[in-house]
Symmetry: C2
């Protein structure tokens, strides 16, 4: 899958979060495109980048509950109704949003009072106009407070967000991990082989369990008909 | 009432809508502050303007379902958590948003699919953090298609949005009109006098009718207790 990550961040050099994500984007061969360091916006080139991608990600820190100005500036210059209505259909639009606030702030009665979904409505409207598939938002709350294990989990989740098929089902997830591990195998190493073997076996078992569950559910559905 | 109208519009010279609103803002002595023509943003001066105002209006055309970049740029530079949390409490925040789309586009199933209230969620979150009162959004749909009468109505409604007390009740509205007509009276003119007399009389009658209605309602409430 060809993924374009459009990053809007005025102070990216000071952001360990973005450097962290940059590494993840490299591992899945995503195209990392930082707007704030562009000398000028070449509209045709930007449109080409969009056309070549199957998944487009807007990635940014929350500035007063919105994307930074560099992203809206870019949108104004690069997108036209003509282009949006005709050129991006069936592509996917994802949002990676980082915030210094905790998850619990983004709810009715919380510190912010609104969910990220509500705050990101303009991007949902954009995807709707372009007939793109809007992916579930990928929120990153208080990166600095994450433990090493949590960071590793986030690192893998981010790579999946950039390159795994949606929906984020067990099947799509295990296929992605299998593929990921096989790629790593170039380094040839007995432990890796063992992990892959085990993983494949677990996946088979899970698939078989899933089939059994489906049968049971089918049975129940019949009962209540 | 001291009102500050913060206008974000990259192409204001070509906008008859904004020139139209500029006239209205002058008539109610609002402070018209256009961001895109500022040479540079003097943070202290901008904060002073905010502190001096009782009502603050963000006014802009919709660019990809958001405010133009000049407004978010201004927000990033001028607002700090410190300032927002301590200095704007109990002031009012209003939004005047112009769009080339019709009202019916802004609803589930419509062309946009989302309401202006949903799209403007970031400003509601901003008002909430600052403990400001968020006023009902003042939308301007397809200005070019308005008839002369509709434009006149809009012209008065806009002036009221900038200077009338909220809520927009019959009482607040008639008081505003009375005050407005009296100001115009400087030009001394028999017709004006007559209008004011009639208007005062109508207001009295309406107040009396309202009192009667209140009594009836009171009576009904008692009945259903």
């Amino acid at each position: 899958m060809k993924t374009l990550v459009i990053v809007a961040h005025p102070k990216i050099d000071n952001s360990t979060t973005e450097q962290f994500f940059y590494q993840g984007a490299q591992l899945v061969q995503a195209n990392w495109h930082h707007l704030d360091t562009l000398d000028r916006i070449n509209i045709e080139h930007e449109q080409q980048l969009l056309l070549q991608a199957q998944r487009i990600i807007f990635q940014f820190p929350l500035y007063w509950y919105q994307a930074p100005a560099s992203l809206s500036q870019w949108q104004t210059q690069v997108l036209s109704n003509q282009f949006l209505n005709n050129s991006l259909r069936d592509k996917e639009l994802g949002i990676v949003v980082t915030t210094g606030l905790p998850a619990k702030a983004f709810q009715a009665g919380g510190q912010v009072g609104y969910s990220l979904g509500q705050l990101m409505t303009p991007f949902q409207a954009l995807a709707r106009q372009a007939q793109m598939q809007f992916l579930p938002i990928f929120p990153v709350y208080q990166f600095y407070y994450l433990s090493e294990i949590e960071q590793l989990q986030l690192f893998m989740d981010y790579q999946r967000y950039l390159s795994q098929d949606f929906p984020d089902s067990l099947k799509n997830r295990s296929q992605w991990y299998l593929h990921y591990l096989q790629k790593q195998q170039n380094r040839k190493n007995a432990t890796q082989d063992l992990i892959i073997q085990t993983f494949t076996q677990m996946t088979d078992e899970l698939n078989s369990a899933q089939a059994t569950l489906d049968l049971i559910k089918q049975d129940e559905d019949d009962t209540f008909e």
